[in-house]
Symmetry: C2
């Protein structure tokens, strides 16, 4: 199965559905702001996860589209607010919402997207008690995402060599994995899966999300600049606390001269391209990048084990392929 | 019935309930930020409305407390974000969340409050299909509040004498009345009211909310500075588009010398206290304040008419008293 081709195909159908939910609205400016990120496309992995999981447990994928679209809209709401908070001016090759409009409009647009998402979930074609469960899970998920964003900012105020790997893992679980979890759990519920299948699909998605994020950090250091659409090594310059950096600092002896090289570039917005390059070489050389690759691969193996609760099907195969994509992709 | 005393009594019980919903959370800073406004008290009019309406249609008031608390939490979420957008540094005599912490934490705290609110609604002790309806109505309400905040900002960019009264009324409907509407509609549903009662209670709350806001604008010009806790006439200095100002500018002839006096102070942050005082005198003198008083009184009369769908009860009397409070209060 060509997973990337299947992802692209499914994303196209989902695109139209997501945008159809963002048509209604009285205020021109708010409508434009609300549609700005969702209309820029994306892989639509979260609605796709809900759809495919619903099919894989024996249900109809279409029934999961409203719920999945709501999660995509929530994902976009968090991007709008995150970009304000992090003062990022570009997203998906476009100006950020707060740059194109202004900060107040971006805050409101995020809130409006969030509200619309919950309205969409109530329109799901499933029994009312299942809708309640979807709402409850989604609301708890958004709370955790908010905590994750707060923890991410908290970690930035701790000297990087004092950040514990566990705190980093907890943070990326909340910032990234939890929304995938929610998508898979909801998809399994909508598809009529057993409680055991619901639990396994949730765990599958958590592991996939963790691997996805660790792989993201690897790509940001070792990927192809053109394919990524951003300068390789930006994370070093911004002093981002990634598994790779934490592992390097936790394992390299205090007097290791490579340590000084890494620290010189880390979080130094005046670092030269050569210094950034050297810092990346240190991370490769000390085994930190390999350690992250190994970690991502372990998440992938464990995620695939969770698929054993499913009967054999093309969808199960696709879910397995999604893992290989998440922890092996070049973009 | 001493309405203010009854409001204070009910608010005390509701306080504890609202705060109990904000205890859970992993991140210390976020927990503090989330609890900052709700813990400062307030009149709790929205949960009270849900509670009393549920009783007035013959149901148990306690059943409406989770839903009402969720609306109070949503009200607080909008205050946190509004204060960031309007750059207001004080609220209820305390520093604003974004001042006490920082802007990113305030944005996250608002999002987290919003998420918690929807989780709370799912815990309501009513049939699942009613919970769905509550969620849907609440989600639509928050979308409208977002539109209202956007429209408020849009109006600020239009010369004040070109702002239509209808646009102002539409804006305050969305910013203020819609959340009261939601409280009363939900309360009537939870209390087991008929569809006719649900409609009437919704309309009652809309009219009450409109009157409440118009009265608020009157108070801000003519109230007692000490009781209000803010300088009288701030709205003039900030150039706020209120019914009073719009009516004055729409009815005074172009060459009326009072017009120049008003325009000199309106939106002029360097206006002297004497100039502000003169502008307020113009608004009194030209009949604009009286017109607003009359408008608020009309909303009150119409709101009370909606109570006819209810059987006689202490709660019906209280709902009538709430109207007199909303459009007659001194604070």
């Amino acid at each position: 199965m060509d997973v990337l081709k299947e992802i692209t195909k499914r994303a196209k159908t989902i695109d139209g559905q997501v945008m159809s939910y963002l048509e209604e609205g009285d205020n021109m400016k708010l409508n434009l702001a609300v549609r700005h990120y969702p209309s820029a496309g994306g892989k639509r992995l979260r609605p796709m996860m809900a759809q495919v999981v619903a099919q894989a447990v024996g249900g109809k994928g279409d029934k999961a589209i409203p719920f999945g679209s709501a999660l995509e809209i929530i994902h976009n709401f968090t991007l709008v607010h995150d970009d304000v908070m992090d003062n990022d001016s570009m997203r998906r090759g476009r100006p950020a919402v707060h740059v194109l409009f202004d900060v107040p409009t971006a805050i409101i647009a995020g809130d409006a997207l969030f509200a619309r998402a919950f309205e969409i979930i109530t329109s799901s074609d499933v029994p009312p008690e299942h809708i309640n469960r979807l709402i409850k899970t989604t609301a708890r998920t958004v709370w955790l995402i908010a905590e994750g964003q707060q923890e991410d900012m908290d970690l930035e105020n701790i000297p990087v060599d004092q950040v514990a790997v566990d705190d980093y893992l907890k943070m990326i679980y909340k910032k990234t994995a939890v929304l995938f979890e929610c998508a898979a759990e909801g998809g399994a519920l909508i598809g009529g899966g057993s409680e055991e299948q619901i639990r396994s699909m949730k765990e599958y998605a958590r592991l996939m999300g963790m691997g996805f994020q660790v792989w993201d950090d690897i790509l940001a250091l070792t990927g192809d600049e053109k394919q990524l659409g951003k300068p390789v090594g930006n994370d070093i310059r911004n002093g981002k606390r990634t598994l790779i950096v934490l592992h390097a600092l936790h394992t390299m002896p205090r007097n290791d001269p490579r340590r000084a090289k890494l620290m010189k570039a880390l979080g130094n917005d005046k670092a030269t391209p050569e210094e950034i390059k050297q810092a990346i070489e240190v991370l490769e050389d000390c085994g930190a990048v390999d350690h992250a690759r190994k970690t991502a691969a372990e998440y992938a193996v464990k995620a695939k084990e969770q698929l054993e609760c499913l009967p054999p099907s093309l969808e199960r195969e696709f879910l397995s392929g999604v893992i290989d994509f998440a922890v092996g992709r070049k973009v």
